[in-house]
Assembly symmetry: C2
Homo-oligomer: 243 residues x 2
């Protein structure tokens, strides 16, 4: 399984993904699920992917091969992020059409994607591509999108995130959302790739990799975990026995 998260905030985007891939709990490998396409100063496009790894790798690698080649799936030529999402979906469906009948006897052939980025002249934008190859866009009221193992990490985002949340706090919430997921589900695991993208930077130099032993992540995780136990001891217990 996989967990990928994209958050749209006033200050930009935060994109995060884990690195675990497995076909059954006994066959576990690490793989990057986050790829960025950059024209410095002009556009950055980051794609997170979940689902059938052969399918999602084929999509991402095709887009890499077409980068700057001038064909119709060349992402350097897409005028808007909406066009980027449309191109990714067309490449994805082409691969589904090619591979589907061969793969389905063995399992699910589909993938899903989160696409975040900014093209000069536009605001930062964030999209989620469904397994069917259609997609939705995030907005200030639907400001985070998740794919893969999404549920364990959702409550903390529902409680604490809004469009005005700072990029540092959002990055912290993303790490804690991953921590909750990793805690509760074996099939999601570090290292986590985290990209806090500042609007109008057109750069991915803020990309961080958090291994399980990363000191900064440990500090955040421990401070949260200890603070939570302390908080729970201070919240009043319900009255148990009848008066």
């Amino acid at each position: 399984m996989t967990y990928c998260l994209g958050v749209l905030i006033q200050d930009g985007l935060v994109l995060a993904s884990d690195s675990r891939t497995n076909a059954g709990i006994d066959q576990i490998a690490m793989v990057r699920k986050q790829v960025s396409f950059v024209l410095p100063g002009e556009r950055t496009i980051t794609v997170l992917s979940a689902g059938n790894l052969a399918t999602t790798q084929a999509v991402v690698t095709s887009l890499k091969q077409s980068w700057s080649e001038g064909d119709e799936t060349d992402l350097t030529r897409a005028p808007t992020m909406f066009d980027v999402a449309t191109i990714l979906c067309s490449v994805y469906r082409r691969i589904l059409d090619r591979d589907g009948d061969y793969v389905r006897p063995f399992g699910d052939v589909t993938g899903s994607f989160i696409i975040g980025g900014q093209i000069k002249g536009e605001e930062p934008r964030l999209f989620q591509v469904y397994p069917a190859g259609n997609f939705i866009e995030a907005g200030p009221r639907t400001q985070f999108l998740q794919i893969g193992e999404t549920k364990y990490g959702k409550p903390i985002l529902d409680r604490a995130l809004n469009f005005e949340t700072s990029i540092g706090m959002t990055a912290k919430l993303a790490l804690l959302s991953f921590d909750a997921t990793i805690h509760s589900n074996l099939s999601v695991g570090p290292p986590n790739d985290l990209l806090p993208y500042r609007r109008d930077s057109y750069s991915v130099e803020n990309l961080r990799k958090y291994s399980a032993t990363n000191a900064e992540w440990s500090r955040i995780r421990d401070a949260y975990s200890e603070g939570l136990i302390d908080l729970l001891s201070r919240v009043p217990d319900p009255a148990i026995d009848p008066p």
Copy 2:
């Protein structure tokens, strides 16, 4: 959907369930998902159920009708909680056999159950019945069991619960686990039934119903929610921009 939770602790059991049932988001009703069978001073058996409502009601109502009737599914005659679980499963499978072929064209016919209770001469015990009608028992290392919409409410239990946790703290964690679930998923909703069962009490007089506006639950929810926001502001942010 539904969320039901059973926790086994040193001091006894905590059993909790929501009240929402729906067939599609537009057809929502409230229903109790928690039923207790009591022989005062001798045994209490509580059944929580999720899944097809006609199936689970048929199981629970059959067991109610057989109570004290002296037939082979009479729970007053079961020598142990293990036998109680075995009887419930046999009733459940009888109903699956009777209804399955008629119901499957319309949807899932199966249910799942949590059974918690104590029979004099035994410790408090807790079981989970799978849709197949087989079951597992909780123990000090697997001390909580969930059915239905289980994921949103799991992280807080994973972080804070252990076998020595007090019954008051466990009841509080159960309420907060439900709060996380209700927050993140429309298909789970109050009122919640919460039964903190003290070992050797053979009574369900501690059963509480928490409506959405219940003052005690609001106090717990608000204290947690405010405390969490405060905690998150104190946990250090990750460094974002490159040095």
